[in-house]
């Protein structure tokens, strides 16, 4: 993975020193809150409902074991002994104290991490496919491009005061695991006539106005990629609306001007700035690529795996749900679920983080990833190591066999922490997961993505959940709207709203009615919830959700 050079090191250290001085000046009264707020946001420090929150970037979701150990150390020393992994591959600490933040940032810098541009109207942490470098369906590893974009966008002088935040995601595979069509810019790496490049998708986003990204250009070779991105952000920087923050994101600019107009402007801008790059971007990319060489894969028998798979039903259940196909023979990608039913989605204790770091050292070529689905990925595990790895996970309560199932729920922090939230999401996720565990229906229901947001900003990606839940404040009471049929993959679809929302104590039973309806109506166990919804449409699920209303309508 990427190693900081002298420039990176001194940049991050200087920023720590700068922000430390700003914190000191805020505490001694030299800076007002109005002056300090944009400075703390530039460094990932929010003030939430109960405390400050520090959002630390995990660039493209990649961590090494020493970094994971340090995240555990920070959780214990400065916080409440845990961290929360987010839908943007960041980690959030919910309880830091302002005077401790400089020390936290310094500890992060010790392991080449930071919280820069995790907030504010800047280009945010670049996310990527969490199976990068390992997936069997990969054309190219997206991480070198993501790292190039990180370096280019960090402190980019033209892009520090954008109309609004700007999010970039990169995938190099045919299956989109990075929700690239819901980002301001999504890149899909492709090979055309032997040349690597990317499809540029622009103007996707969820939030109050959900939109599926549109293709700005089918193929931009790597040679032109960075100037093309700079041209795109530059066009939006001038054109994007600063009069209304709800209309400031690039999705609205694309919508208002039309993709053809935006494309023409980007092409003009690209032609103007391309010569100024002079090939330095490609030199940097080549240098970065050297940091992402695959590990030396072992060529050895997988008998230990086969024996455990046949003998141990618990191991088998876990292997069936939590493993994905690896490009190397004899290897698997392991998803470690942070969704034990009843647990807060995406939370890991310091002890669990340390265990994961050690497991990565022992069995997984020293690599860890954080997925936008709030799980931890061990991308390179030889199958012969899986039984021992599974046993090690069990010892730390990390062996839930539920990846991609009903209890593997994405949930934002919601009103339990977030100052913007209009309702809670975590207890709804806990309630659904616990209920289906009681019903023992999880494996029967099969592949399902439930996503929950506690406000319209949609950090929980509810629009693209097969079942999406949006928590709102309706006349001073928590109320939950349901959407069905959303899909965050390469075939991205925004879900359909079912109708009136449900009260806090009605939402778990409502989800249960939807899923019992699905079990009744599906064309056999092979037909997933999403496939059944596409075949049947909203009507039968609506009838299950609002039975009294249907009866009333029939009686009238």
């Amino acid at each position: 993975m990427y190693k900081y050079n002298d420039f990176d090191e001194s940049f991050v250290r200087n920023r720590v020193a700068q922000f430390s001085a700003q914190v000191a000046r805020r505490i001694d009264g030299s800076l007002s809150e109005e002056e300090f707020r944009p400075l703390r946001l530039m460094n990932g420090l929010y003030l939430q409902l109960h405390a400050y929150m520090l959002r630390v970037a995990i660039p493209y979701g990649t961590l090494n074991p020493d970094q994971m150990d340090q995240l555990a150390h920070i959780a214990e020393k400065y916080d409440r002994g845990y961290g929360h992994f987010t839908t943007r591959q960041n980690i959030q600490y919910n309880w830091p104290k302002l005077p401790d933040v400089p020390a936290i940032l310094s500890d992060l810098a010790d392991v080449e991490m930071h919280a820069i541009q995790t907030s504010g109207n800047t280009i945010r942490n670049v996310t990527a496919d969490h199976f990068a470098g390992a997936a069997a369906d990969e054309v190219a590893d997206p991480r070198p491009v993501a790292e190039l974009i990180r370096q280019w966008s960090t402190d980019h002088p033209e892009f520090q005061f954008l109309p609004r935040k700007f999010k970039v995601a990169v995938t190099g595979a045919t299956a989109d695991r990075a929700v690239v069509r819901a980002h301001d810019i999504g890149l899909v790496l492709k090979r055309q006539d032997g040349v690597l490049g990317a499809e540029i998708i622009v103007g996707g986003g969820l939030g109050r106005t959900p939109m599926v990204g549109k293709t700005l250009k089918e193929f931009v070779p790597f040679d032109d990629l960075l100037p093309y991105l700079e041209a795109t952000v530059s066009v939006w920087n001038l054109l994007g609306r600063r009069d209304n923050k709800y209309k400031a994101r690039i999705k609205i600019t694309v919508h208002e001007h039309g993709i053809d107009d935006i494309r023409a402007r980007v092409e003009d801008r690209f032609a103007a700035i391309k010569p100024s790059f002079g090939g330095i971007d490609m030199e940097m990319l080549r240098e970065i690529e050297g940091h992402f060489l695959p590990p030396i894969f072992a060529d050895k028998p997988v008998d230990a795996y086969t024996r455990a798979y046949e003998a141990d039903p618990v191991f088998r259940a876990w292997a069936d749900t939590n493993l994905a196909a690896h490009k190397a023979e004899g290897y698997a990608i392991v998803t470690v679920s942070l969704k034990k039913p009843g647990q807060t989605p995406g939370d890991a204790t310091a002890e669990q983080m340390r265990a994961l770091a050690q497991i990565a050292r022992d069995y997984a070529h020293d690599e860890l990833r954080i997925s936008h689905e709030q799980n931890v990925i061990l991308p390179h595990v030889h199958k012969s190591n899986l039984p021992a790895l599974h046993a090690a996970l069990k010892a730390f309560d990390l062996a839930s066999a539920n990846v991609g199932l009903v209890s593997d729920i994405i949930a934002c922090p919601g009103m339990d922490y977030c100052a913007l939230a209009t309702a809670r999401s975590i207890p709804v996720a806990q309630g659904i997961a616990t209920r289906f565990e009681e019903l023992k229906l999880e494996h029967d229901i099969g592949a399902l993505k439930i996503k929950i947001s506690g406000c319209i900003n949609a950090c929980g990606h509810h629009h693209v959940g097969h079942i999406g839940i949006l928590g709102l404040d309706r006349a001073g009471v928590e109320n939950y709207q349901i959407t069905l049929g959303g899909d965050g993959t390469e075939d991205m679809v925004i879900g359909d709203r079912t109708g009136p929302g449900f009260a806090y104590d009605e939402i778990v039973p409502a989800i249960e009615r939807i899923l019992l309806c699905y079990l009744d109506l599906r064309d056999g166990p092979e037909e997933t919830f999403l496939a059944a919804y596409r075949r049947l449409g909203l009507a039968p699920f609506k009838a299950a959700l609002y039975p009294a209303k249907e009866e009333k309508a029939n009686a009238a």
Binding site: E33, L49, H50, A51, L98, I426, G476
Partner: protein, 103 residues
């Protein structure tokens, strides 16, 4: 015609700890909503808020509705109920400390 004034408290977050605080009758900041000053008068509310917003050791002071209860002010909205209690997924925040000490 403007709406009739409903009783309010002044709340904010403490600069250093970041936790929820309330303005008391004596003008100090307290951590327990029950010890907050319940304000029944719009003019006084605005004057106290303007003063609170000048306090460099607190962040984001605002007025929020509260009702008179047996032990002092009580929240009227669930957001303020969570703020004076803590998150529902862990016993952290005010629910754990008892929330009594003054700033």
């Amino acid at each position: 015609m403007s709406r009739p004034f409903t009783p309010k408290v002044i709340t904010a977050n403490a600069l250093l700890q970041g936790d929820v605080i309330y303005l008391s009758e004596s003008g100090t900041w307290v951590r327990d909503l029950h010890e907050a000053a319940l304000i029944f008068d719009a003019v006084r509310a605005e004057a106290l808020l303007a003063e609170a917003q000048k306090d460099g050791m607190v962040v984001g002071a605002y007025l929020t509705d509260a009702a008179e209860g047996k032990h002092g002010p009580e929240p009227t909205h669930f957001r303020e109920e969570f703020r004076r209690t803590g998150p529902s997924n862990y016993p952290h925040g005010k629910q754990e400390t008892g929330a009594r000490a003054n700033v």
